[in-house]
C-alpha cells in the first residue's frame, strides 16, 4: 500500500521535474517556428553573411551584428577575465575573513543591479569620457565592452571561486611544504588544477556578455554598419531585437525571431561546451 503511494508520488514529482525540459522545448520550438520561414525565404547564407539590414527594403543581413556581438564580447572578456581571476584568487587566497565576507556581498550586489542601471551609468559616465578623451561619438564598442566587462565579473568570479575552493587542501600544503612561495603555489599548482572550472567560468561569462541587451543598447550607438575601430558604434544581435521588436511586424518581426535563433544557437553551443568541460572532470 505504502509502496504504491510512494510510486505515485515519484511519478508526480517526475512530471513536475519535466517542466524544465518542456519549457526548453517550447521556447526552442516557438522561436524556430517564427524565425525559420524568413531564413528560408532569404537563404541561410544570405541571412548570416548579408551585409545590409534594411527591413523597409526587405533586406535582412545580420553579418554586421554578428561582428558587433563578437567584438564587443571579445573586448569584454579581454578586460573582464583577468580582473575576475584576480578577484577570485584574492577571495580564496589573500583576503582576511572579514574583507572576504564583505567582498562577496559587494559582488552579489554587482550581480543584482539591473542591467539598465549599468547602461545608464555607462551612458552618463563612460560614453562622454570616451568621446572627450579618445575621440569618436563615444557610443562605441569600447563603451559596450567596458560595461559588459563589469557585468560578467560576478559570473566568472563565483564559478572560479567555487572551483578553487573545491581543490583538496593537500595540493596547497604539499606545494608549500616543498618550499614554493604562496604565489608559485597559486600559479603552478592551484590554477592549473582548477583549470577546467575556470574555463567553464569564462565560457559562461562570455555567454552572459553575448546575451546582455539593455545595458548594451544604451552605450553601443546601435548603428548597423561594419565597425572600423573600437571607437565606432555598432549593433549586436541582442540589441537588434531589443530596439526593433517595439514596432516590427510581419516579415520584419520574423527576421527578429530569426536573429533570436542565431543568438540561441550561439548560447546553446557555448553552454554545451561549458557543461562538457565541467562534467569531464
Amino acid at each position: 500500500m505504502n509502496l504504491k503511494k510512494d510510486k505515485m508520488l515519484r511519478l508526480g514529482f517526475f512530471l513536475v521535474a519535466l517542466s524544465t525540459l518542456s519549457a526548453l522545448a517550447i521556447i526552442t520550438i516557438f522561436i524556430f517556428v517564427e524565425g525559420v520561414p524568413l531564413i528560408n525565404k532569404v537563404g541561410l547564407v544570405k541571412f548570416i553573411f548579408g551585409m545590409k539590414w534594411a527591413p523597409s527594403q526587405g533586406l535582412y543581413g545580420i553579418f554586421p551584428m554578428i561582428v558587433g556581438t563578437v567584438t564587443v564580447t571579445f573586448g569584454a572578456a579581454l578586460i573582464g577575465v583577468p580582473v575576475a581571476l584576480c578577484v577570485s584568487i584574492f577571495l580564496t587566497e589573500f583576503a582576511p575573513k572579514k574583507i572576504r565576507t564583505f567582498m562577496r556581498s559587494a559582488i552579489q550586489l554587482l550581480a543584482g543591479i539591473p542591467s539598465v542601471v549599468y547602461g545608464f551609468w555607462g551612458l552618463t559616465f563612460i560614453v562622454p569620457f570616451i568621446r572627450d578623451y579618445l575621440g569618436g561619438p563615444g557610443l562605441s564598442i569600447l563603451a559596450g565592452s567596458l560595461i559588459l566587462a563589469i557585468m560578467i565579473l560576478p559570473t566568472i568570479i563565483s564559478i572560479t571561486e567555487v572551483s578553487l575552493l573545491s581543490l583538496p587542501s593537500l595540493y596547497k600544503q604539499g606545494s608549500l611544504a616543498l618550499g614554493a612561495t604562496h604565489w608559485q603555489t597559486i600559479y603552478h599548482v592551484l590554477i592549473p588544477s582548477a583549470k577546467s572550472g575556470i574555463m567553464a567560468a569564462i565560457i559562461l561569462g562570455i555567454g552572459r556578455a553575448i546575451g546582455e541587451t539593455m545595458a548594451v543598447i544604451m552605450v553601443l550607438g546601435n548603428a548597423v554598419a561594419l565597425p572600423n575601430s573600437i571607437l565606432d558604434p555598432a549593433r549586436t544581435l541582442t540589441t537588434n531585437i531589443g530596439i526593433e521588436m517595439g514596432y516590427a511586424s510581419g516579415a520584419h518581426q520574423q527576421a527578429l525571431f530569426a536573429t533570436g535563433i542565431v543568438l540561441l544557437v550561439m548560447i546553446m553551443m557555448l553552454n554545451s561546451i561549458a557543461q562538457f568541460i565541467v562534467r569531464k572532470r
Binding site: 514529482f13 517526475f14 521535474a17 519549457a23 589573500f94 559587494a106
Partner: protein, 278 residues
C-alpha cells in the same frame, strides 16, 4: 620566470590586492552615482502617487504595483515547479540519463538571454495564448526565467539536510511524503526561501523580457490581464527618452535599495541555515 620568487610574490600580491580594491571602489562609484542624485527624489509623494504626463511628473506608484504583481505571478508559478524539480533530483532518483537531461535543461534555461525570453513570452503568452501584453504574460515569462535559480538553490538546500533526518523519519514508520514534508522540508526551508528571494531580485531587475511581454502602459493595473510597466522598464524609458532624469534617478535608487535588501535577506537566511545544519 626571470623574476626572483620573492619579488614575484610581492608583485603578484600587489596586483591582486589593487585590482580587487578597484573592483569594490568601482561598485561604490556606480551605486553612489545613482544614490546621490536619486535619494532626494525618493519622497513619500514620489512613492504613493501615480505617474502623470508619461512620467514627466507625479510619482511611480503604478510601476511599483506592476512590479509587485509581475513578481508575485512569477514566484507563485515558479516555486512549486522549481522546488518540486529539486526534490525529484535529490530525493526520488539516482544520477541517471533522466537527471542528466533535466539538469542540462535547467542549465540551458539559465543560459538563455533575457531578450530571447522576451521573444518567447511575446509569441507564446502574448500572441499564441492570447493573453496580450499583460501582467500575466510578463509574470509567466519571468517564472520560466527564474526556474533554474530556484531549482539550483533548493537542490543545494535539500542536499545539505543531514541524511540522518530521513533515516530517523523512515525508521519511525514515516512514508516518503511524510519524510519529505516533515523531516526534510523544514530544515531546507531557509535555503529554499533564499533561492525564492533571489528569484524575486531577478524579476525586479529584469527589463528586456518584461517590456516585450507586460508592455509599458503607465496605467494602474486592475487585473492580471492588464498591460503594465514595471519599475525597471519605467527607469529605462525615462532615461532613454530623457523624459525626467530626476525621476529616473529616483526609480533607479529604489531599485538598488530593493536589490540590496533582497541580497541581505537571502544571505541572512543562508547563514542561519548553515548555522543550523552544522
Amino acid at each position: 620566470m626571470l623574476m626572483r620568487p620573492k619579488t614575484a610574490e610581492k608583485v603578484a600580491q600587489t596586483i591582486i590586492w589593487s585590482v580587487s580594491i578597484l573592483v569594490v571602489l568601482l561598485l561604490f562609484f556606480i551605486v553612489s552615482f545613482i544614490l546621490i542624485k536619486g535619494v532626494p527624489t525618493l519622497t513619500w509623494d514620489f512613492l504613493t502617487q501615480n505617474p502623470t504626463q508619461s512620467g514627466r511628473s507625479g510619482g511611480i506608484l503604478s510601476t511599483i504595483v506592476s512590479t509587485l504583481m509581475v513578481t508575485l505571478v512569477a514566484i507563485l508559478v515558479a516555486t512549486p515547479f522549481g522546488v518540486g524539480t529539486a526534490f525529484y533530483l535529490t530525493e526520488f532518483t539516482y544520477e541517471s540519463k533522466v537527471t542528466k537531461i533535466i539538469r542540462f535543461s535547467a542549465e540551458s534555461l539559465a543560459a538563455i538571454p533575457s531578450i530571447v525570453y522576451g521573444l518567447f513570452g511575446f509569441i507564446f503568452f502574448v500572441i499564441y495564448l492570447k493573453l496580450g501584453w499583460s501582467i500575466l504574460s510578463g509574470g509567466l515569462t519571468m517564472a520560466v526565467m527564474i526556474l533554474p535559480t530556484i531549482i539550483r538553490t533548493s537542490e543545494e538546500a535539500i542536499l545539505s539536510v543531514p541524511r540522518a533526518y530521513r533515516e530517523v523519519s523512515f525508521s519511525l514508520g514515516g512514508n516518503k511524503w511524510q519524510t519529505i514534508t516533515r523531516a526534510v522540508l523544514p530544515s531546507a526551508f531557509p535555503g529554499i526561501t533564499a533561492g525564492i528571494i533571489l528569484g524575486i531580485g531577478r524579476c525586479v531587475a529584469e527589463t528586456a523580457a518584461v517590456i516585450l511581454t507586460a508592455g509599458s502602459s503607465l496605467h494602474m493595473p486592475e487585473s492580471l490581464f492588464d498591460p503594465s510597466r514595471t519599475m525597471a522598464v519605467h527607469f529605462y524609458i525615462l532615461a532613454r527618452e530623457g523624459i525626467s532624469m530626476e525621476r529616473a534617478y529616483g526609480t533607479a535608487t529604489l531599485l538598488i535599495i530593493i536589490i540590496l535588501g533582497i541580497n541581505l535577506t537571502a544571505n541572512m537566511l543562508v547563514n542561519r541555515f548553515i548555522a543550523k545544519t552544522r
